[in-house]
Assembly symmetry: C2
Homo-oligomer: 489 residues x 2
């Protein structure tokens, strides 16, 4: 089965010849340089299935035929499940999909406007907000709960998200089996048992098993294998940073990225054949003036576009952290860095764009920015619909044009009445008022209006939180959990 | 000759079949509805060359074979000339090109931050700024000189632009021959005579001869014919507004747009065969809640993408007013509305994107926004360069990767040193500092930093203004002209 196009044509950065070369060069890296694999279980499996292992250096090299054999097992589709099945989605079929990004440790406080450490209550609020934001379809736990106890550090990050959000939730930063099982037990309660949960595993897990360049660490690799074994949706993000952890060349960074993606994908297929895989990326170029991490740089968006092309070559869904910004505010910079990259990525064929909510190079969550990102997502979803060219409508329009004649007005024609509520995207954040109306409403900028909307939503209780009985069962198991209430007061 | 692609593939909204249908339906409009042409000279010419004219209604219908005959004469290229030949460009070869948009009547004052009527001095300042902004290649006179006398209303708008700007200048709003000749006489002085000017006509003229739907007015049609006769670069912008002046259907609006474009193009070729033409657009969808003009709506960008496809079908350069915003400030909304549409338009294949400087639905010029737009343009120009895949470099990178090994660092490798100054776009406006540095510099948002840069440029005299001797000759001819000095004080 071939990955289907959502449009008559995607934007292409690479030629067909270049795509082939990137693949071949990536195979060379795997065969000639290999990866340092710091996990014995993974090493044993890789060796058993035909990779070569240097026991002294822990370097594993991948013969091209082994890579090809296991890459061929990857299925085309990747499904994420929501607490409410209405929000399940399968990629690439239901894409492009927009999600939140991770992981920050700070929040712009929605009441004071000041920066402060992120808390479990923020995670609850974001969960509630996403139910009301149709542009954002997936909740990657976007910030840490810095107010959590050590024992509950993952639970306090995950529980408020799942409690409040109906859409697929993806846990981040879970670094050992004990912690994963705490989260899974909670999810089983919500599902009504482990068996029920496994029918629709509505929690996904994420990690970055490759430390670029070419090094797999113990814990993330262990967790990746654990989730794959159990059939729980998981995907790895590949994160080269050109000039620091990959060559200072976009071409060579892409090649390394593809090599690292294939290494992880091959391991996943060795653990369990036909495991769904996502080509998930966060490629960046270091600003070598200062060494600054610059995910808002246009080169990051450009690399994403090439990744989308490579993912199409491998027939797998593509996604990534895209349109991130170095701005400290939801200002023009955050607006144009995000919109430019995300538009480019989508038009190049990305299936899942994790862009929502974070500013300051992924370190800070901003409530207003989330509302702005929802709007960007909805605008792009309008682009996906295209112009819906309809021959019958155009023929009817020709008759209308004859009737109104040169210089006429189409305000009350049949087509206008028919399309009145469906043709255009009506923004929530963007202002279209005349200046005098805008001034009379306080001359607010987009960020202020976005925050007003957020506060309006959070002034009410979340009607879609987990029911009280289920919540009580969770609290019986984890009695010290914070309330996970989204209401802002 | 076929229009060349700048990339391996453009983004496509329309299928090949739809493109064909749009063309055929547009021919139907021209043949069956026609245009009301309110200019006797144009009517006589159209009639003489095979169009049918109803003398009572002034409706001209265009048989399909006549349209095809004259459309076939349109050349592939369109050249605009700068006062300095270094800034000449030819489309599509040198595209994508970014320009300023027109026309506003207000300015956000760069010193007070308050809105006020635009003045001749603002036009001078913008001209100077564009010399320093490599992203913006063309200066459409973006605002009116509201402080001009009636007699000098066009001169005061044009003179400060040409005096200060080295890049192609395009005069807007010139509505009669007497006014055009005032401007041309000034340009002849700068060129050193009419003959010299005509070798490189470094002033272009713009108008909107079609009042949608399907009505050509007297003055703009007259001026279009005047410039075409003389071989002075001119192009028309087509401006349907769905729901008001075109059907409330994106498909039917595109069809009408194409019909209007073909009518104007055919007339231009009848006046003078092989006259360069641009497929220049400003299609919008009215916000029918209030009737608001909404050029920031995503449907506008979507229509531009389809126009780029149609222009490719006709083998002509495409351009337009794109990425406009309804925002009253250079805030997040201005950032994302602009970046999203402009990125989409460029990736769909637009050759000239007039987006710089205006906010508030084309009514207000904002200095900070211009600097932001320069940055958006430069980011997109970085996308155009692609990843510059180089097999030799990738092979060298493989050797570097072997050398640094898994977990290594690429900060001081040969490739890093070689690409240090060329690989990435270094922003002027966007901030990449750590929060503490950013705070120590005043916690400024992007608009504040952009304005700081503008003021820095305008604090000095323009070293590239027209020399004093030439300026004196202009002042001898037009003694009451305002000084046209760009320095901000």
């Amino acid at each position: 089965m071939k990955k289907e196009m959502k449009f008559p044509g995607y934007f292409e950065v690479l030629t067909a010849e270049e795509i082939k070369t990137v693949h071949e060069d990536a195979l060379k890296i795997l065969a000639e340089v290999g990866l340092e694999v710091n996990n014995d279980k993974a090493i044993a499996l890789l060796k058993e299935r035909g990779c070569r292992v240097n026991n002294a250096t822990r370097i594993v090299t991948f013969p091209a035929d082994v890579v090809t054999e296991y890459m061929d097992l990857i299925p085309l589709q990747f499904t994420l499940y929501g607490r409410d099945p209405k929000y399940d989605f399968t990629l690439p079929d239901d894409g492009p999909i927009f999600g939140t990004a991770s992981s920050g440790t700070n929040v712009t406080d929605p009441l004071t406007g000041k920066i402060r450490p992120s808390k479990a209550a923020d995670i609850a609020r974001i969960g509630h907000l996403l139910n009301e934001m149709p542009g954002i379809s997936m909740y990657t736990c976007t910030i840490s709960a810095t107010d959590a106890s050590f024992e509950y550090r993952n639970l306090e990050r995950f529980y408020p998200a799942l409690k409040n959000c109906l859409k697929p939730v993806r846990a981040s930063g879970v670094d050992c089996v004990v912690e994963a099982e705490k989260i899974l037990k909670l999810a089983y309660i919500v599902a009504g048992g482990e068996e029920e949960f496994m029918k629709r595993p509505f929690v996904a897990f994420h990690n970055c098993p490759v430390i670029a360049p070419l090094k797999m660490d113990h814990d993330s690799t262990e967790m990746l294998m654990y989730f794959v074994e159990r059939g729980i949706p998981t995907y790895a993000t590949i994160v080269p940073n050109a000039g620091l952890t990959s060559p200072f060349s976009l071409g060579a960074t892409l090649v390394q990225h593809v090599a690292e993606f294939m290494a992880v994908s091959v391991l996943m297929q060795m653990v369990k054949p036909y495991t769904p895989v996502m080509f998930n990326s966060l490629p960046t170029v270091a600003d070598l003036r200062t060494g600054a991490y610059a995910p808002g740089g246009v080169e990051c968006g450009l690399l994403h576009m090439t990744c989308a092309q490579m993912a199409r070559h491998y027939n797998v869904p593509s996604g990534g952290y895209i349109g991130q910004t170095n701005s400290k505010l939801p200002d023009a910079q955050a607006g144009y860095e995000r919109a430019l990259a995300v538009t480019g990525g989508m038009l190049a064929g990305m299936d899942m764009l994790q862009m929502g909510g974070l500013i300051e190079a992924l370190m800070t969550f901003d409530y207003a920015q989330l509302a702005i990102d929802n709007e960007i997502a909805l605008m792009l979803k309008r682009v996906v619909q295209g112009i819906q060219y309809d021959a019958a409508e155009v023929a009817e329009a020709l008759a209308e044009t004859k009737a109104v004649g040169p210089g006429g007005v189409f305000m009350e024609t049949n087509i206008t009445m028919k399309n009145l509520r469906t043709l255009q995207f009506i923004p929530t954040v963007a202002d279209r008022n005349c200046r005098n109306v805008w001034e009379s409403e306080g001359s607010k900028d987009a960020a202020e209006r976005a925050l007003d909307w957020v506060k309006e939503i959070l002034a009410k209780e979340n009607p879609n939180a987990i029911d009280e009985d289920t919540d009580q069962k969770i609290r019986d198991l984890y009695p010290d959990l914070m309330p996970g209430v989204s209401k802002l007061s």
